[in-house]
Symmetry: C2
Subunit: 167 residues, 2 copies
């Protein structure tokens, strides 16, 4: 059997490592809605959550009507955690070379959408709930991105102001 480096696909950058995905999946997810954003292409998107926030744009979580009862009491939250599915991202890279970095870094040390389970997370401010539409500020994803989950953000467990990342 050949090694990973011999099998290297042609569509990855020097220094990146692709690994074979498992033969079968282990569980399934439902898309519970779609995220409406001002960004129609990947090139339009803010590069990350901070840039998204700085745009001052509002994004809208459009929930599948079946799940609307699940929003009861959500207005008590000033902030939410939103999970969404990066359905345009490949899933087989264990090491990636981000353009801004210029060298290889492990997928689990990056917030890249490219990961075995392309579940992105955004912490957003809740603006308004109107039926099945939840206005938030703001997410960095493309218009129409599938929505997976909405959770209350708890400062007591989710906020670590002195968390650091080294060079």
């Amino acid at each position: 059997m050949s090694t990973i480096s011999e099998e290297k696909p042609s569509d990855i950058r020097d220094g990146e490592i692709a690994v074979p995905l498992p033969d079968r999946a282990d569980a399934a997810v439902y898309f519970i809605g779609r995220i409406r954003t001002p960004w129609k292409t990947r090139q339009d998107c803010p590069k990350n959550a901070r840039q998204a926030r700085e745009t001052g744009q509002v994004c809208t979580l459009e929930l599948d009507p079946r799940w609307v009862p699940g929003l009861r009491d959500i207005e008590r939250c000033s902030h939410l955690v939103v999970f969404y599915w990066m359905d345009q991202a490949r899933r087989d890279l264990a090491v990636q070379v981000p353009g801004h970095l210029g060298k290889g870094r492990g997928t689990f040390a990056l917030r890249s959408p490219v990961r075995p389970n392309p579940i992105a997370m955004g912490v957003v401010r809740l603006i308004k709930v109107d039926g099945n539409r939840i206005e938030v500020a703001a997410l960095d994803c493309i218009d129409g991105t599938p929505l997976l989950d909405i959770k209350p953000y708890y400062a007591s467990t989710d906020s670590i102001p002195d968390a650091v990342t080294g060079p």
Copy 2:
């Protein structure tokens, strides 16, 4: 076709609302490893992330060996976001009555494992990486829980110290 209330299953509490799940799933996830914790049953588990932290216990993320290259540079992160799959949780409740609350609250206003996509999230301190084992403090899940993702925690986007939840 009968209404939701007429179809109410016998195994839910007064005030809870179950909704029919979609006929088919939209995407699939891979378990990328397992989480080793000191808690062998659901009754043993800390009730939430804060309680887990207060135990002072160490939990271990055991990564499938295929994904180990994905850990490169992860030691630069003081804290990580961990996603895991609550495989013992039902997925059809839109309104739940948590014991401590005694009234119905929407699933998306709760951190309960019961949700359409039972993806839990924990923010943890990184202690040590040794091969495919990542020691962290601490998670609130049962021993053997499937691991879905590991991400760097960024204070700049993930920490909102003044986020609040109302009564």
